[in-house]
Symmetry: C2
Subunit: 261 residues, 2 copies
Amino acid sequence: VNESPIAVFDSGVGGLTVFREVQRLLPNEHLLYFGDTARLPYGNKSSETIVRYALKSAHFLCNEGIKLLVVACHTASACALPALQGALSIPVLGVIQPGVDLLLSTTQTRRVAVLGTKSTIESGIYQALLSSKVELFPIACPLFVPIVEEQFFDHEIALLTAEHYLHSLRSTEIDAALLACTHYPLLRHTIQKVLGSQIAIVESAAACAQQVQKLLWTKQLFNQQGPAFSRFYTTDRLSHLTSIATTFLGKDVQTICVNLD
Amino acid sequence: VNESPIAVFDSGVGGLTVFREVQRLLPNEHLLYFGDTARLPYGNKSSETIVRYALKSAHFLCNEGIKLLVVACHTASACALPALQGALSIPVLGVIQPGVDLLLSTTQTRRVAVLGTKSTIESGIYQALLSSKVELFPIACPLFVPIVEEQFFDHEIALLTAEHYLHSLRSTEIDAALLACTHYPLLRHTIQKVLGSQIAIVESAAACAQQVQKLLWTKQLFNQQGPAFSRFYTTDRLSHLTSIATTFLGKDVQTICVNLD
């Protein structure tokens, strides 16, 4: 039993999907959310830079006394998970493996697509984890994140962009696609429309929360005391995080701005 | 006479338009280009964060012994010019005033538009400089920068996005529009198509280079020795800057990566 908080870390607001699933599944756990909004996006930067930013954010969170770090950003999970696990004395979970497991349990044809940022796809991690098991079609979709940030969810611009990135998948006979970026579930309807209704679209947030639960039980880190608190940090003041988190989580959220430079 | 280099500073590659104009106009001047690619984009971050990043970049460049700093990024010019001028002992020029002067000398109806990033428009600087002189229609176009970075220049996605941001200008009877972001000239054809051929579209790069020339003569800082060198710095290794600069400037460019964290 451990009453310390769990931290959910992302470059921006996308990790709130993971935060919400963890909160649903583990209502007694104290939770910190950290959005590195002064340095976002991570998705088009180098591994070295992403590792540096992730380590700074993680050290700040460790100083806040967390018992577990959840890396909710696919790019940071793809590029920085081993560095974080090597540098920290607490357990660190990412979103890559939960998504891979879910994708493998979903496909029947063994032909699947993974959609992610440029840095995530170029990291080669999905190729390394999946290529021996399935026929994999990895696709980088750089414009999806700014489109989500502009809230063009069911807009014609989103549809045209999804057509541009995904039309080549039509001839591949895939039966499942993983949304390997926390922003992409907000374009789910548009992506489904382009891929067709027979393709199963999966995402990693709920699967990641289940791994968090499993790890707390395995390591006897769970918290049985209530009521649980949650705190929200950003690295830039000007951030949609406050309003998005309030809308998304359905309660009034205050954010604390910290300067990690 | 001063043989020290001039620095052109931007968050990414957009400032190369200013760099090229300065190089054309002042072929004897040594030039440094600095793209803060590890922290880009600036356009959706807070003034405080932009000031912090601009000061770090400027201090690095001052240690390289520059005689003049040209802030080629409109967002950094809008948010950080006074802070840079206060902190540095060398002259600092931005791209806001040259663009404003050009816009005022272009319009006849005194009804103009300014297109920029969210941070540039929200800084209120164009409103402060122009509102007493013209009827101003300022428009933030957040998706233009990622569209340029995806090189969707004459693509249907660019056209649809430009329609979305600019259709309201059709009823305003403007006769001139300023592209107040160094990325936007790459979407010039698309923007012209949406605004109509009767609207004059102006940009600040050449006007800024002329102000650089004027300042060098006024302060007797020009260099008459040749041949001039140029050097290119980025803060992130993974950057299009090398290939884009090589294409854009028509010569082989090597970039040096510096870590300012």
